[in-house]
């Protein structure tokens, strides 16, 4: 592989993420593409602390911490402020977790997307409210244990299909990305950087604390999510043009689930159910990519 990750760093060496956390990698890769001319709006999320406790910052770009539901709306305001000052070339990045995107921040996000605000919105998804201590969100997958979905009654709803919803806003660009595939992440962010309008990224960031796996397995976990088709890598242009960026190996979901304590209680039939659902979702995605529907 002759792909090169840009050398520039926009994070300082120190931050306060848990060992094995992949959220800093996501930020690091994204900033390597967006560069110094970037302003971040950040609603409450794990990154609110990863960025450093006042007066410290682990980022070399300006950062504004915002209220939980306000990632996209504050980013819209920042962009408007830069535009009236003739600085339209500054990238405005809203950086939110799954709670701030799928749940409490969704109204503002949908509105910003509908207005096609010229912002990049990244949802780094660890599949629950991890900063408050592992409570389920509408991004938590079916069957998962969290502190509010005990193993006796685990998460009973499937994960919300956020990229499909964002694509339905007909925004110019929406994509999934993974910390295990930095080449793909960086290439797509480079592409998005050149586009004007709302650009949405959904990056899966495995969480060793919340998913209950050993920290050294983080990147492996991210890779397995892609290779099992649980979290395929694809992009959607103008809301309709689907491209699958990497054909997964199609490893059995069991290989992914069995490494995580949050799925430990699952029975064989539950795993079969998940496999069936993943296969069905993959078919749907292929249909969209092959223009068989939509």
């Amino acid at each position: 592989m002759n792909f090169k990750v840009p050398k520039e760093e926009y994070m300082f060496p120190g931050h306060t993420a848990c060992p094995g956390c992949t959220a800093p990698q996501a930020m690091r890769y994204v900033l390597k593409v967006l560069g110094q001319k970037t302003i971040i709006a950040m609603p409450a999320c794990c990154w609110s602390t990863i960025a450093g406790i006042f007066p410290y910052s682990s980022l070399k770009v300006p950062l504004f911490h915002t209220a939980f539901p306000a990632g996209a709306s504050v980013a819209s305001g920042i962009k408007a402020g830069m535009e009236v000052q003739g600085q339209s070339d500054v990238n405005v990045l809203a950086w939110a977790g799954d709670g701030g995107t799928f749940d409490i921040g969704f109204q503002a996000l949908s509105s910003a997307a509908e207005r096609n605000e010229d912002i990049i919105y990244v949802c780094y998804d660890n599949e629950a409210y991890m900063n408050t201590g592992i409570q389920r969100s509408s991004s938590t997958p079916w069957g998962a244990w969290t502190a509010v979905t005990p193993k006796e009654s685990p998460e009973s709803h499937p994960k919300k299909d956020i990229v499909y919803i964002m694509a339905a806003h007909r925004i110019p660009y929406a994509a999934t990305a993974s910390v295990a595939f930095p080449d793909d992440l960086i290439a797509k962010m480079k592409k998005a950087k050149k586009i004007k309008g709302t650009r949405f990224f959904h990056i899966l960031v495995p969480c060793s604390t919340g998913w209950k796996f050993s920290p050294e397995l983080s990147i492996k976990m991210a890779r397995l999510a892609v290779e099992t088709k649980i979290f395929p890598l694809y992009e959607v242009e103008k809301g309709v043009k689907y491209t699958i960026n990497k054909i997964p190996k199609g490893i059995s979901v069991k290989e992914y689930l069995k490494l995580q304590g949050r799925f430990k209680h699952l029975k064989e039939k539950d795993i079969k159910f998940i496999q069936k659902r993943v296969d069905k979702e993959w078919e749907r995605l292929m249909d969209r990519a092959n223009n068989r529907i939509d």
């Binding site: 001319k37 910052s57 770009v61 306000a70 504050v74 109204q107 207005r115």
Partner: protein, 385 residues
């Protein structure tokens, strides 16, 4: 140039004259004409951006984001919309952003009502926003221009309140100042702190117990400073435009035996009633409270320290206690040296827009005259039993 315009349009003209750069808003009755007029005035103007967002939470959040970049920002709302903003009202003040907002006073649901009272804005008392209550459409326009100057100096946001329908939809003659005169009075906003890619900082991050307390003390210091800044700005405004409002306005208070305390448009009606009493040789006066935050406690003490009885008119209520201006006026009279402490009568009237007529104010004055001191903390006026 004099124009006959509704209160809501006085807002829009004031905002445009102030060279506001980013406006974000969401419609709610009776605020809508503010934004409709602004949309018209902003169209084809590249120096101002108007974001039409999906909620008041987002309109204030967008103002917060824009203000962080160092531009002048404005929004307008009312009632439920203001309540929906509550979380980010704290954020705007805590981030020390000089945002200016108009709140068209409208009572809170349930049940639904569109009509005026002050419970919406007074419920936001402790958010760190300056609060101005306006009596006329002229005062609305003038206060908006002044508020930007005041907020940008002390770094706290300003909320300008006007009574729904009574001012928002009533046409009055308003002197609209010349652009060049407003430009001279209110130069372009030059922020002390802003988010800047060439000078990167993190703003609003998590603080430990070592910093937060001091930051709150700084906000209170800014509020204390605001009193002088409001007065100074008002005097400067008078030099250019001939009108001054102050923190409070005394109307025939010098020799008054009874002083009415009012805010908003009720002050206008009260003037007429006071004039009537004066014609009959009765020593009645009125103290209009223009700024509720910062609260003009010294002015209240100075004026009330000379009178025999005080009648506070509240178009609001703090359930389980009493009228809110009544509480604040009473609190101002305690723990300080005052010449005397007159009995203070607390009248609640006009909730949900019920008309506060000259007859109602006369009833309040008659009750105050006939009784030596109030029997209860609330005297209900105009209530159907």
């Amino acid at each position: 140039m004099k124009k006959v315009i509704i209160g809501n349009h006085a807002v829009s003209y004031g905002v445009m004259l102030s060279r506001t750069q980013v406006i974000a808003a969401y419609p709610i009755t009776p605020q809508t004409e503010v934004v409709e007029k602004l949309s018209e005035l902003c169209s084809n103007n590249k120096r101002v951006k108007l974001l039409k967002v999906e909620s008041e939470h987002s309109s204030m959040s967008a103002c917060i984001g824009a203000s962080m970049t160092g531009v002048r920002t404005f929004t307008a709302t009312s009632s439920q919309g203001l309540a929906f903003m509550h979380e980010v009202l704290h954020w705007a003040a805590g981030a020390r952003l000089p945002i200016v907002m108009v709140n068209v006073n409208r009572a809170m649901a349930a049940p639904w009502t569109l009509w005026a009272d002050q419970n919406d804005s007074l419920s936001q008392r402790d958010t760190g926003w300056l609060q101005f209550y306006c009596e006329t459409n002229q005062e609305i326009l003038d206060t908006i221009i002044q508020a930007f100057k005041i907020s940008e100096e002390i770094l706290l946001p300003s909320m300008i309140c006007l009574d729904g329908f009574f001012l928002s939809h009533t046409s009055e003659p308003v002197d609209i100042p010349l652009k060049k005169d407003v430009d001279a009075f209110l130069p372009r906003y030059k922020p002390k702190y802003r988010i800047d890619v060439n000078d990167p900082h993190a703003f609003g991050g998590v603080t430990g117990v070592n910093y937060y307390f001091e930051m709150r003390n700084q906000m209170q210091e800014a509020m204390d400073k605001a009193k002088n800044v409001i007065l100074k700005t008002g005097k400067k405004f008078k030099k250019s435009f001939g009108r001054e409002y102050g923190l409070v306005e005394e109307y025939h208070c010098d020799d008054a035996e009874i002083i009415l305390i009012t805010s908003g448009m009720i002050a206008g009606t009260s003037r007429v009633v006071v004039d009537g009493y004066r014609r009959k040789g009765k020593r009645v006066g009125m103290l209009k409270v223009r700024t509720f935050r910062p609260f003009p406690a010294e002015e209240v003490r100075r004026v009330l320290g000379k009178t025999k009885k005080v009648a506070v008119i509240d178009r609001n209520i703090s359930f389980g206690h009493s009228g809110i201006f009544f509480q604040e006026v009473k609190a101002a009279m305690y723990n300080e040296d005052v010449l005397n402490r007159p009995p203070i009568f607390g009248y609640i009237t006009g909730l949900g827009g019920r008309d506060v007529t000259p007859d109602i104010i006369q009833e309040i004055l008659d009750y105050t005259t006939l009784n030596t001191k109030p029997k209860d903390d609330i005297i209900w006026i105009g209530l159907k039993r």
